[in-house]
């Protein structure tokens, strides 16, 4: 009787292991297949088409806007990277922030603000190239994704420290 129960237990555990393997295998294969099928690595704008149900004509307009925006964005990014490099050199191993370093920080902040404004302007322009409803949704989503992080951080910090920053 003991042997029979032991055998049954082994069968049950084996079946459970096999069942789990079958489920996990199917799950991962289906998941990877869906990701590979739905994401086009060659086209980074594909998300816009699927998410906002855009037509070929709308996509062509947005592609043109994007091609105009990209070099400007890259230029400012290169400037920021240069300024950051210079800041690193200025800071060196010192424990104090010198006036030069402070000036460099201001310069970087200015460039970032410029980049951010340009980016937001691009979002507005792209949203106008979409059907009104989708455009509004796009703009709200992009604001959430690009500005939301800072807002969250600022809110949490002002809440934790007990004082508020007024910008």
């Amino acid at each position: 009787m003991r042997n029979a129960m032991k055998r049954s237990l082994i069968i049950l555990l084996g079946a459970l292991a096999l069942g789990s393997a079958i489920f996990a295998g199917s799950y991962f294969v289906a998941q990877r297949a869906t990701v590979m099928c739905c994401v086009d690595p060659a086209d980074n704008l594909s998300w816009l088409r699927t998410e906002f149900h855009l037509s070929d004509a709308e996509m062509a307009r947005i592609r043109k806007l994007h091609d105009g925006y990209k070099p400007k964005c890259e230029e400012i990014c290169a400037q920021i990277a240069r300024q950051k490099q210079e800041l690193q050199t200025l800071l060196g191993n010192s424990t104090n922030i010198t006036t030069e370093a402070q000036a460099k920080l201001n310069e970087i902040a200015k460039l970032r603000a410029q980049c951010q404004a340009q980016m937001l302007q691009h979002f507005v322009t792209v949203s106008q190239a979409m059907p009104p409803e989708q455009g509004q949704r796009y703009l709200a989503e992009m604001k959430r994704l690009t500005l939301g992080f800072h807002e969250q951080t600022e809110q949490s910090m002002s809440g934790d420290s007990g004082h508020e920053h007024h910008h």
Binding site: L12, A24, V29, A30, P41, C73, C77, C115
Partner: protein, 106 residues
Amino acid sequence: MKEKDIHSDDAKLDTLLRANRPSPPSLPPRFQENVWRRIEDAEAPVKSESWLDALATLILRPRFALVTAAVLVLTGVLFGTLEGRQAARHEAQMNYLALVAPSSVR
């Protein structure tokens, strides 16, 4: 005469043998009933000892195993596809975001 004597001896012997036959041993109470019960138990089909054995027997049935495997594959594919859609959407969104919004200004 001789034959008559022989018959008479036989009868005596029979009487003697009957008188000396040991009485049958006394049986335990409900002996016969118990014997029949044991015979019935022995002839009855072997039953599963526990739910574990019953489950193991069920699992080993080819039809049950096949249906269970099919259900597991279908469920896995369904959940995997749903999860894959979400992951694909997120990945595509991040690709777009990386293109238009540099990480330094996010």
